[in-house]
Amino acid sequence: MGMEECVSQAIRVLPERVQTLVAAQCARKAVRIEELRLRTGCPVSLFAGGREWGLSDADGPCVADGAMLRQVVARATEHSLYAAGEQLRNGYCTLPGGHRLGICGSAVMDDGQIRTLTAFSSLNLRVARQLRGCADALFRALWQRPLSMLLIGPPGCGKTTMLRDLIRQLSDRSRFRVGVVDERGELAACLDGVPQFSVGACTDVLTSSSKEAGIYLLLRSMRPDWIALDEISALEDVEALCRASYAGVRFLATAHAQGRADLDKRPVYRALLETGVFSLLAVLSPDRQLTIEGL
């Protein structure tokens, strides 16, 4: 899927006026849109190439309001908040095509947990993309030393895009069986069971499952050589990885961190490193430079 198609698919949830403005921006400036932000009372803004700017037309700035945000969330959830309950509790909603709508508003608490979000105040639409070949360096590294790899980097630097391409290459070029636990539906973006992104012919995708449950299910049912997961963030994930590693499967995973020192500071990642599951660490910098080191 080309960049233009990706953007037009992602912006389908937006009001028609915003869709027109975004399409015009794409056509005029030929920018690669990364995010669109809607904040109540502020102009809808577009983020691309490290810069954010507001959208406007002859009628003036395109200002977002509560009704606009509600409409976007309704479209994103297919008018069915009950169907997106778990995602809403985590502050996002995955759209067809793997695009992600981040949601902020008033949290309704129940027994110390977020039950749902209401009175939406800001939305962040992240456009997913597939860059074939972006994980060539990682693939070469794994070709030489096929060991479990942790890919880290700051938010928005392209970890998921790179992991997706690495899965595709391992699956298609090396014919490894790759199991993907796509908890947020961003890696393969399955729609009615069909991955919207190319993740390879030997890849089995489990969508919407927690990482912990998903790892065991894939191990039991699909006998993978590799298991790929996006954004490790909880101790339960670390425990599941550790236990599953005894079965001889190798892992590919991503985590939010700036570098090795940053990993050591965080309890979850410290615990992850202590397990010894990962042997390689790939660090992606904000300017998308990649370094690979042993752990």
Partner: protein, 170 residues
């Protein structure tokens, strides 16, 4: 010369009886729709509780499995949602198109269900459907008590009215 009088009387009798039988048929249609709605609501509840099916897909499925005016209703609802309409707006259009023959209290409950459909969390949405199911069950029970008597009354009333008119005209 043709004697038109017997023909006129026969026509009066037929028209009057037809009105009575039509009223009885409407009662039977209401009963059928209520029973179909009970099935559709149960399927809706199961789909949401087992598969979290979104309303658009759910309506399309119900349009396939339902019968009569409810097929028209769910088909129009699915169509409206597919075109990007809000649930409430799509439901209003679907109600107007389907011309359901449901009792007023059930219609009110059904409208209430679609006014807030999809804006509740999982538990709230199921509760809303269960409330409507309760209302439909009450409607079915009430109609079951009266159905036979009402149908017979309408049919007899039509027939008797026709006969009366024939006697008066004769």
């Amino acid at each position: 010369m043709i004697d038109w009088k017997p023909l006129g009387m026969a026509l009066i009798l037929c028209a009057s009886s037809w009105t009575g039988f039509r009223a009885a048929a409407a009662v039977r249609r209401t009963d059928r729709e209520l029973r179909q709605l009970r099935l559709d609501l149960e399927r809706m509840r199961c789909e949401i509780s087992c598969r979290l099916t979104p309303i658009g897909k759910l309506s399309a499925q119900l349009a396939q499995s339902s019968r009569g005016a409810l097929t028209t209703f769910f088909s129009a609802l699915a169509g409206g949602l597919h075109c990007g309409e809000a649930v409430e707006q799509a439901a209003e259009t679907a109600f107007a198109k389907a011309q359901l023959s449901l009792p007023p209290e059930v219609m009110e409950s059904l409208r209430g269900l679609f006014v807030g459909f999809g804006s509740y969390d999982y538990a709230g949405q199921l509760r809303q459907i269960e409330l409507t199911q309760t209302q439909v069950a009450a409607g079915i029970a009430l109609l079951a008590e009266q159905k036979q008597a009402r149908c017979r009354s309408y049919e007899l009333l039509g027939l008797c009215t026709g006969l009366c008119l024939v006697i008066l005209v004769a």
